[in-house]
């Protein structure tokens, strides 16, 4: 049986890769991809803890399902915003979107 700390290590690595993507990529779509990676790392953490600490209490899986729902909703709205941004400014580089009003 694979011990718990290995799952947590994978989740930590995934979270850090996601954070680096968010902090350092210039393209807005790539930033959203990083956010998805971070949310997946959180999900993996939740399910690993659920399995090892309290496999009979469904709170772990239910919570993960809700995080999944929120991530899906946020990806949809975020990409809609990016597409709208592209339409008005013809650019999706995060450096170019620095004024609140065009």
């Amino acid at each position: 049986m694979v011990p718990l700390w290995m799952y947590l290590a994978v989740a930590a690595a995934l979270f850090c890769l996601g954070t680096y993507t968010v902090l350092s990529r210039r393209n807005a779509v790539a930033v959203l991809m990083g956010i998805e990676l971070m949310l997946n790392a959180v999900n993996l953490n939740l399910v690993a803890f659920w399995r090892f600490q309290s496999p009979l209490n469904m709170a772990g899986q239910a919570f993960t399902a809700f995080v999944l729902v929120v991530a899906a909703a946020e990806a949809a709205v975020g990409l809609a915003i990016i597409i709208s941004m592209y339409r008005s400014r013809r650019s999706v580089t995060v450096d170019d979107v620095d004024m609140l009003r065009w």
């Binding site: 049986m1 694979v2 011990p3 718990l4 700390w5 799952y7 947590l8 290590a9 994978v10 930590a12 690595a13 995934l14 850090c16 890769l17 680096y20 993507t21 902090l23 350092s24 990529r25 210039r26 393209n27 807005a28 779509v29 790539a30 959203l32 991809m33 998805e36 990676l37 997946n40 993996l44 399910v47 690993a48 659920w50 399995r51 090892f52 600490q53 496999p55 009979l56 209490n57 469904m58 709170a59 899986q61 239910a62 993960t64 399902a65 809700f66 999944l68 729902v69 929120v70 991530a71 899906a72 990806a75 949809a76 990409l79 809609a80 915003i81 597409i83 709208s84 592209y86 995060v94």
Partner: protein, 175 residues
């Protein structure tokens, strides 16, 4: 069956770890965003495999269906519709080195928290063999004492997100 000291579960874990982290590296480092979307899908598939290893098959199926079948395709569409594609010479912002330092510190901090067992009680090696089934998850989501309220709120959230995304991304004909 033990091959070179590794049980089949360990081999599967290693395989899915390679998929997950390899895909994540692909997302970070790619020059071509469509390939980046494909790497993201690979990484999400690795996570689904880990869910199966952790005895959560329902979550694994939902992960593939929602993330890969819907969000992966959404990302691919977004990449194509915003023409942000091939051969980006400048992938990273100018402050990428400070981001790298911050993330490195974060990783060290998280790993120290992971390896030093701060959660007493059940030793991490022993995962119990009795696991709740998908039926229990279904009951938990509609049981009045458990998670029916977050369930309903989540559906409201999804409705709001659908309507919001459609309104924001609509092309305005008055221009």
């Amino acid at each position: 069956m033990v091959v070179g000291g590794l049980t089949p579960q360990a081999i599967a874990f290693g395989f899915f770890t390679i998929l997950t982290l390899g895909g994540a590296f692909g997302v970070v480092l790619n020059k071509n965003l469509v390939r980046g979307a494909v790497w993201l899908i690979v990484s999400l598939f690795g996570i689904a495999g880990m869910f199966v290893l952790l005895s959560a098959p329902f979550l694994a199926a939902v992960q593939v269906m929602v993330y890969i079948g819907a969000i992966g395709i959404l990302f691919t569409f977004a990449v194509m519709l915003t023409r942000s594609m091939t051969n980006m010479r400048q992938r990273f912002t100018t402050q990428w080195w400070s981001a790298l330092i911050v993330v490195g510190l974060l990783f060290v901090f998280l790993m120290s928290g992971v390896i030093v067992p701060v959660w007493g009680g059940i030793s991490p090696e022993q995962a119990g063999d009795v696991v709740a089934t998908t039926t229990d998850l279904g009951v938990a989501l509609v049981d009045g004492n458990q998670f029916v309220l977050p369930f309903e709120v989540a559906s409201l959230l999804l409705t709001a997100a659908i309507i919001g995304a459609i309104v924001i991304a609509r092309q305005h004909e008055e221009e």
